[in-house]
């Protein structure tokens, strides 16, 4: 394992961070590429992980990026995001709904974007 923080993120620590809540239930509704934007400033009284999310999400970031920067498992990040969403401290931009066939204009946009790469 390459990074220290993850090594420290033992089950007990993860349990504390999540407040002991079931991490599975919160994953619903958050995709790896759901975009998150902070709507509030971090406050000193906040749980540090909540504050860290608000700090890095001043520009949109995906759930996967938040998980990578915080070195926390994705399922735990979604619990933290659910808290922040309930307090209206973040705004989320959901990805294109799953199962829907991608529309042609979306695919065209991606193709054009890749051509410029």
């Amino acid at each position: 394992m390459s990074n220290q923080d993850w090594a420290n993120a033992n089950p007990e620590r993860l349990y504390v961070i999540s407040g002991g809540r079931d991490r599975k239930s919160a994953t619903a509704g958050f995709d790896l590429v759901t975009l998150v934007v902070a709507r509030a400033r971090p406050e000193p009284t906040m749980q540090p992980e909540h504050a860290a999310i608000l700090r890095i999400c001043s520009s949109p970031l995906s759930v996967a990026e938040i998980s990578a920067y915080l070195r926390l498992p994705n399922s735990l990040v979604t619990v933290l995001l659910a808290d922040l969403l309930a307090e209206r401290r973040i705004e989320v931009r959901a990805p294109v709904p799953p199962a829907a066939l991608p529309d042609l204009s979306l695919l065209e946009a991606v193709i054009h974007g890749l051509q410029r790469l």
Binding site: P97, L104, L107
Partner: protein, 213 residues
């Protein structure tokens, strides 16, 4: 922000997405051990590739085929990913994930909502790909196959590989060098064009799509 270590704590100034980005889409690069997934993701990404991790125990909760796996087992699986900003409104994420069956527990969250997949294949070790291809077909995930060229890779004719991998004729097979940004970009393009053809066709006509390469 503190960038002392090699592991970033947050995005760099140059890595910030425009505030206007409203939609994110994802694709998945999947393949066997050491086939070049991380290399490909890194080649196309505009940000330093990142890693998100998940543990077997949590991701496995509720999955019933984990007989024999200890509840407290701490198997950690890393997924590399990168990002390409497509426009002021749209961003594409590219995830690399191992193809071995023991990592399939990751696939639910990963493939749900994904546009499609790239199956990265090393022609020296074709057998690694069989399970992955079958699994993608079962899940109905559209995919293209990219043959990553290693110096000692046998240069089979594409149609021979198609037969060996038992791929329907409409599934594109392309060659690539995962170390090259342009070549890796072209792999993603092949996938997008294939998806476009699929989406543009009347339902059920997929089998008549033209191969891209």
């Amino acid at each position: 922000m503190d960038f002392n270590g090699s592991e970033p704590r947050g995005p760099r100034e140059a890595e910030l997405l425009p505030a206007t980005v409203a939609t994110a889409v994802k694709i998945v690069v999947v393949g066997g051990f050491g086939v070049g997934k991380t290399t490909l993701v890194g080649a196309v990404s505009e940000i330093r590739p990142l890693t998100t991790e998940e543990t077997m125990t949590e991701a496995g909760v509720g999955i019933d085929d984990l007989a024999g796996v200890e509840r407290k087992s701490s198997t950690t699986v890393a997924m590399d990913f990168g990002r390409i900003t497509i426009s002021d409104e749209l961003v594409l994420y590219v995830f690399g994930t191992p193809g071995q069956e023991r990592f399939w527990f990751l696939w639910n969250g990963l493939f749900e909502g994904a546009l499609g997949a790239v199956v990265l294949v090393d022609t020296r070790r074709l057998e690694v790909s069989f399970d992955v291809l079958g699994r993608l077909e079962d899940r109905g995930v559209p995919f293209v196959v990219a043959l990553n060229g290693f110096p000692e890779s046998p240069g089979y004719p594409v149609e021979e590989l198609r037969a060996a991998l038992d791929l329907p004729h409409h599934v594109p097979i392309v060659h690539c060098d995962a170390r090259s940004r342009e070549s890796s970009r072209d792999v993603l393009m092949a996938l997008m064009r294939y998806l476009y053809d699929l989406a543009a066709q009347p339902a059920g006509a997929a089998a008549s799509a033209q191969p891209v390469g």
